[in-house]
Each structure stands twice: as C-alpha cells, then as structure tokens.
Symmetry: D2
Subunit: 287 residues, 4 copies
C-alpha cells in the first residue's frame, strides 16, 4: 500500500458541489486519491472530508506551496476550514509524565518499533523518577519540578520548552497535574489526555476503590483533548474490559493500565496520521 504524500482535511457547512470541486482540483493537479472519508453531521449542518493522495514526480518546496495555495483557494471559496499535511514532516510530540511509567514507556516502545510515525524530541516530568528509564532508551528527559505555589512558573517553563522543541502535540501520559486554563488555551485540540472511565462515573479521589465498592462489571479508559473543563474535552478513543467481584482494587488498576496503554497509543496514532477532526465538543475520527 503506497504511503500518501499528503493528507487534506476539510470541514464546512456547504457541500453541494464541494465534493466534486475538491475531486476535480486534485485530478487537475495530477493527484491520485488513495483514500477518502467523508461524514455529515446533519444536526450541526457540517460536512467533513479527509483525503489521502499522491502526486506524480518529486515535489519541490515551491511546488508544495503552489499546490497548497490552489487547494486553499478552492476551500476558501466554499468557506471551509482546511488543513493540508505533507508526508515527510512528521509531527513533533512531547510526553508529559509523572511517576507512572506505563503509558510513557509504552509510547516510547511503540515509537522505537516504528508504530508511531512522529518525532518525540522530549519527555518532561515534574518528578525525576523516570529519568534513567527514558534516557537509556535514547530519549531526552527534562525534569521540571513544581514547588508549592509555583504552578504558574512551572507552566511557563513548560511552555518555553514546548516552543523551543517546536512541539505539535502534547501527550499527558499520566501527568497527574491539572493544567491551568491559561496554559491550555493556546494548545486547543493539541493536548491529549488519558483517564480511566467507569460506568457509572466516579468523581473525586480513589476512583478504583469507588468502582470496586460499587461492584462495576466493566472498566474503561478514555483519551480526549484537554479543554479548560477537566476530563470533559472531545473524546478521541475509548475502550473497556470486563471485570467481576473477584477482581481486587489492584486487579482493576492492572486491567485499567492495560487499557490506558492501548487507548492512548491509538489516540496518538490518529492524531499524527491526521485522522481526527474536532469540532464543538466532539470529534470525527476517520480510522
């Protein structure tokens, strides 16, 4: 299966003729559509499309610029939001972590195995614990401690690091800190979080213990974009597994860890492959 040279995502409210116009444009550009997904949210009156395509020959940067401009013109005509990504410019991903290793090490292992087509230039933690584990795998580890009352300062240091590294996506791999609204604002739809999910939901401390006490028969994990509203941003990926009364609190924790790894890895994969379109408080995930 040939790799796409480019991925175009569009979102707009008018669609009569739009599909044809995009298809025609790509045809005129000599493009070959490898895969196209579309979706209409009739309630919201919105149309979504994701197109993977190749173009003939080697493209110079100015070719790419020219093609981008033409696509932009067509999309602007239809008043569509659009985003064009060229293959060969992998997303730069930062992992924010704490002491819980499982999600961080799993993402690094998948990255090394070639499963995640991105760069991971930095792993940042408010604890020193995982330094050795991360660095000996060949990744850069930065310890940004958070003393009491200096959350604001620490977040400013984080922000600077992320800018220096030209980060596209921040992954909260069990970061365990609530990010301030100020920090989150400029990273709209670019911070992914992972958290456990239970039916019913349990607010407050020690959710595993609460779930155990309530005798839930299923536990889950949800990965979502971070918004000012904690744990309430657009959902990207979810999964569950079956549990019973014979599972101890430790068993719930272990099973949830297994879910969290897979759910977060899928959310990251979808992001870096440009499979997600977020709008309102929800997502379209073309997978």
């Amino acid at each position: 299966m040939p790799r796409p040279q480019a991925v175009l995502r569009v979102i707009g409210s008018d669609r009569a003729g739009l599909v044809a116009d995009v298809a025609n444009l790509l045809f005129r550009l000599g493009g070959n559509i490898l895969h196209a997904d579309d979706h209409i949210d009739f309630e919201a009156g919105l149309f979504f499309q994701r197109v993977e395509f190749t173009l003939q020959g080697e493209l110079t940067p100015s070719d790419r610029e020219r093609i981008g401009a033409q696509i932009g013109q067509t999309c602007d005509q239809w008043k569509m939001r659009w985003d064009l990504r060229w293959h060969g410019a992998p997303r730069r991903v930062a992992l924010l972590t704490s002491k819980h290793a499982h999600c961080t090490l799993d993402l690094l292992a998948r990255h090394r195995a070639g499963e995640l087509a991105c760069e991971i230039p930095i792993v940042i933690s408010n604890h020193p614990d995982l330094e050795e584990e991360v660095t000996r795998r060949g990744y850069k580890y930065v310890h940004e401690p958070m003393a009491k009352g200096e959350k604001r300062d620490q977040e400013q240091r984080l922000q600077r690091r992320l800018e220096e590294e030209k980060i596209d996506l921040v992954v909260l791999a069990r970061y365990m800190q609530i990010l301030s609204t100020d920090f989150v604002a400029p990273w709209k739809e670019r911070i992914l979080n992972i958290h456990h999910s239970f039916l019913p939901a349990f607010a407050g401390a020690e959710p595993y213990k609460q779930a155990y006490r309530r005798g839930v028969k299923l536990i889950g994990a949800t990965s979502h974009f971070v918004t000012a509203d904690l744990d309430e941003g657009p959902i990207v990926w979810q999964d569950v597994t079956r549990v019973s009364h014979s599972d101890s609190v430790d068993d719930l924790v272990r099973k949830c860890r297994d879910l969290e790894r897979v759910v977060l890895a899928n959310a990251v994969r979808c992001f870096i492959e440009d499979r997600i379109i977020a709008y309102g408080n929800k997502t379209v995930v073309f997978d």
Copy 2:
C-alpha cells in the same frame, strides 16, 4: 451435567472453620457438591459462598424442611445470612413494560425457548399497545393505566397484582416510569431494571442525542436492582459496544436495544438461578 437439587447462598463475617462446617454438614446429609463458588470482600470483611448440591433419593417436603432446619442451625451459629432454594420451585417473574417491545418480547422468546427457568405469570403495562403481541404468545397481559395524579393508586393496583401472582422478581423491561420509594421498599433486591450507559454519563432528557453530540466511542447497557435512588442500585450485568461518528442517533438507539436485550436477559437468568448476592450497594454475581 446433573441439575442441582438445591442452591445454598451464605454471607457472613466470620469464616475460619465455616467452609469446613458447611462442607461437613452437606457431607453428613449425603449431599454431593456439584459446584461451589466463594468470595471474600476483605474491605467489607465479608465472606460469600454459593453451593449447588444434590442429595440422594427422593425428598419429601418434610425431608426438605428438616434439611433446611439443619443448614439454618449451622449458618445461624456462624451468624450468617443464608438462603436455600430447592429445584422444582421456579421463581415467579412479572414483567413491567410500556410501549417499547424489544426487551419484553425478547424475554418471552427466551422463556419459550427454555432458556429462562422461571414462570412468567403476568406482563403488566401502563399502555395497551403490546397486548396482542403478548397474549398471542400465550402470556397474560394486564393493562394498568396511569392517569395524571393517580400514580399512588396505580402503584397500589400493581402491588396487589404482584401479590396475587406471588411474584418473586419484578423486571422493568423498559417500563419508563419512576417507581415511588413506597412501592420499591418491600421489593428490595427483587426489582431489576435496564438502562443505557454512556461514558461519560448523561443525565437528563434524550441521552442518545446527548451521546451523539458528545461523540462517544462506546455505548453500553446496565442492569441493576432498583433502589430509592433512581438508576443507582447494585449493578448486576453490564455490556458495551463500539460506535463511531458515523452512527446516527438512530444507530445508537438500535445498538443500545441489542445490548439491552442481552444484558437484561443475563441479569434475569442470574437472579432465577440464584447467582446474585447483593450487599451494600453492590453485588457478587457467581456466573
């Protein structure tokens, strides 16, 4: 696999020696243990056991009484709550329904197919709609309408019907009415309800529309015992299925219906086979 002649369920706080005592007693009675399940909730300090056993020969009613008394004596000694059910006295189950046919007809179909070892002497609805469907399958249908402001009267009529029919278990097969605390009280751990479950949970009206708007990736169904706290009683069975942005609200409804059928049927089956032990706000389900 031989059918058990009796099922004994015990719940207690002291267990050293208890397992041996119950085993010895059954041995002395000539009992043959077909299956035993136990569980300890260390947090609550409680021990649970469910034993299926057979006894030799035909038992007269007075044999059964004598055996029950001996078991009761042993259990009382250990200050255990206990429950002994003899095979051949199937539970009597009433279905309460409204206009939504799917759970009711599914339970009747399973009953006719021999999958549910109970009696279903009555189906009660606050609407006349399902009468023909139910009666032509050979079941009794009673219409107990609820005029405005007469909920209390209607519930008293319901209660009378349930008593007349010597009902052991009330199944709310999409009954769509909130039962009053007064009605629920005497039916503790004997009313099963089914409702949809979403991650996150959606309170209020039109949950499917809310779930659609939130872009959930999983939908579920939960069957639980009814308590005064609506939809918050001990959970008996749960299941989920995967959905995506391409599922319309109607698709969510359809997928949820499929889940509800199977989840409610499993909860009913576990009840009538004496597999559930409820305590606090949770259950042990030996399945």
Copy 3:
C-alpha cells in the same frame, strides 16, 4: 438525517479521475451526496466506492431511468462494475429455516420493529414446527419437506417459490441443510448463512462438544455468503464472546445463539442497505 434516495456502488480497477468523474456527474444531476465511502485494495488493484445521495424534486420512473443510464455510461467508460438502488424499492428477503427458532424469530421481530428496511414475503422450512409462531406474527409460512432422496425435487420447489416471490436475498436462518451446487449457483452473493466459529475451528459433528472438550476461551459466530464451498464463502459479519471452563456445553450453545442473532441481523441489514461489495472470496462492508 435525511434518507438517501439512491445508493450507488462501483468497483473498478482504474481510479485516477474516476472519483472526480462520479462526483461531477452527481453534481450535474443536481445530486447531493449524503455519504460516500471508498476503499482501495492495493494488492488486488481494485477501487470501491459507495455513495448515498439525494436528488431534488420528485422523480418519475423515466427520470430514474435516464439518471441510471447516465451513471451507467460514466461507469462503463471507466470499465467499472456498478449497481444503483433507488430508495422505495425495498429488497425482498426469504428466510429458510428448520426447527431452530431463534434466528428466524429474531429477524421477524426486528422487521416488525422497523429495524430492517426490507420485505419478508415468505418463510420456508423443511419442517412444520415453526408454522404457528411465524404465521401468528403475520408472515407467510411454507413447509417444503425433504423426503429421503428427493433433495433435488425439494430444491426445485424452493427455487420456484423464490422466483414467484421475486426474492432478492435468501437468508439461511439455521436451515441445517447443505444446498446443492446447482441450487447455489444462480444465487451468487445473494444467500447469507450464519454459523458458529471457534478458535481453533472444529470440523465434523457436535462442534459445541468439541469446543468444550478443547477448553476454548472464546466462541464466535460468522455470517457469510454461501458458495459451493460449504461455510467458506465471503465473510460479512463476525462477533465473539468470552467463555470459560465453567461454561457447560449448554452454556456454549446459549451464548452462541445470542451471537448468531446479532451477527445474522447485522449481515442482513448490511445487505438490504447495499453496504456490501463482494469480490474474490472477500467483502468490503461499508458500515
């Protein structure tokens, strides 16, 4: 969500420009694309597309004919296989059954509940057992017994019935008979079967007993198109459920029945909504 007026499915080997051509044609016809799915099988060098669209105004039969001709011309130019279905001409489905009621009654219940947008003009069985169950639900039941040695005759009578009723799809709802190659040939990709699936697979008699003896931890069900090669046709839908050593052979049977209902219903739904494209020995299911 508006219902599509038409569904177009195409399959072809050349695709450069094809997507644009189909989109342009629908645009010129005044069509509004509600949903489009495409897929490329790079190994086979094949392109697949399914488009749901509406057209403005009321269409007369001659309008439809004209539009069909134009679409056909475009598709023929690209040497594509194509199929155009107008809404309002529901598929006619025949159920073939034996004595096992669960799949047949489930499909009828879903049909009555409005879940399956087709007609079911006839239920045919080689046994009389389900006649009452089927007819009192308002469906036509025909008993076509199969005496020893007269399989050929019986199949000819079946074939005549199916032709008389202008059947589009034959559903083997636990029919339990092997259809002859002669019977199957003219119904290519138009007979759906359901059967249990185990890991590993068990050939021969009493598969549930074999699965029990092998201690499998999962059981499944598969719905597929029937080909001359028994149980080996293109797969349309599959699902599994978890089992353990504590499940008896009867439990396996019961759990498999629950799977079979849902799996077969999904396969039928996908067929009548024109979601399946079969090729070689596999399917694309746009769901």
Copy 4:
C-alpha cells in the same frame, strides 16, 4: 487483600466427602481459606479445586514439610493429583525469543512494574538482535544461535541453560522456531506459546496476508501450552479484536501485536499464580 501463604491445587475423580475432607484438614491445620474455586467436568468425571489459604504464625521449613505431608496423605487417600505451592518461592521463568521484540519487552516491563510475581533469570534468543534492549533493562541475555543442521545441538544447549537456571516455566515470546518432540517432552505443561488466531484458521505461510485476502472481520491471539502437536496444546488465554476491509496487512500485524502482548502476559500471570490446571488437551483457568 492479604496475600495467600500457599496455594493448593487438586484434581481427582471422586468428590463425595473430598471437599469436606480438604476443608477439615485446612481447618485443623489452623488454615484460613482466602479463596477457593472448584469445578467439575462431568463428561470427564473429574473434580478440580484451587484453594488459597494462610496459616497462623511463622512457618519453618520443617513446618511446611509436615503440612505438605499431611495434605499429601489426604489427597492420596482420595487418589487425587495435587500440587502445593508456598508463597515466597516465586517461579523462575525463561523467555525464549528471536528478533521480534514486542512480547519480550512487554513481559520485562510488566515484571519491572511488579505485575508479574516471578523471577526472570534469563532471556535466550537464537539471534543477537535484542541483546542491548534486554541487558540495559537489567536482564541476562544469552545468544544461542542455530546453525543449519544443528537444531539438536542447539536444543541441548538450551536444555542445559534451563536446567542451570532451575527454570519452572519457558515462555516462547515469539521464538519462531519449532521445538523438537524430544525437547518438549520433559517440559509438559511448562512451555507457553503465543500465536495469532483467525476465524477461519489459516494454515501455512503469511497468515496475515491470508487473513487480509479472506476479509476476516476479527483477529485474535491464543496462548497455549506447547505439546508435540504444534499450536494444538491446551489453550490458556485468548482474545480478539475487530478489523475491517480498511485495515491493511500492516494494520492486522499491529493489532495482533497488541493482542499478543496482553494475551501472553495473562497466560504467564495465571501460570505463576498457580491458576491453571491442565488435563487432557484442555485447561481449567481459575482467574
């Protein structure tokens, strides 16, 4: 939840009185049963029990010996096969691997995270590739290459290594070599393998490509004990995940890797916690 001091597993054909006898014995020994599971295979006429228990006070080695002797006497009386494991003597596990890192590294990560209560004194491979990855995590890596025609020699070297390390369990973490019958024989029910599972099953080379060509809708993984009959030993754990036509061969491989990790880890965990009883060609897994 207190950790059990000992786990007793028994398997026998006679059970009347046996449950009581074991319970009585443990009671007389001052034992406190934390958890007991039993199962009867009525077809095979076999009874299985697994009991986790604690004893009061600190036990000297001679206490343990005496207690073991008493349990053995009781079990022998009932002609039962039995196995008693004391906590504090963790199983010694060897990983056999090749170049495929994912299962090996996942098991090591879980071991380091405290999820697997065993020792892993050695990782052996017929390739040098994973040496760095394994050793820098602090595990011993031994390269035992297999030149053409010297399988017998290599297996003898393996056997010696396993003996030297006093190995209890051999885990084939994608070892990719078929072990000879001679090698396997002394390791009955002590070698765990992991392999992909498809519905239907695909024999021969390139199973992922075969599964893709057949358009399967589910893929799975199975962990089983190794017997002389390749991939046909008693099943310990299985799981599946849903796939569609839009999954490429690479996607199938990736999804299968995710399954394999979790399935193999669960099988290993069940082994080292003495949760498995194998008999005939199947297992009872008390989990």
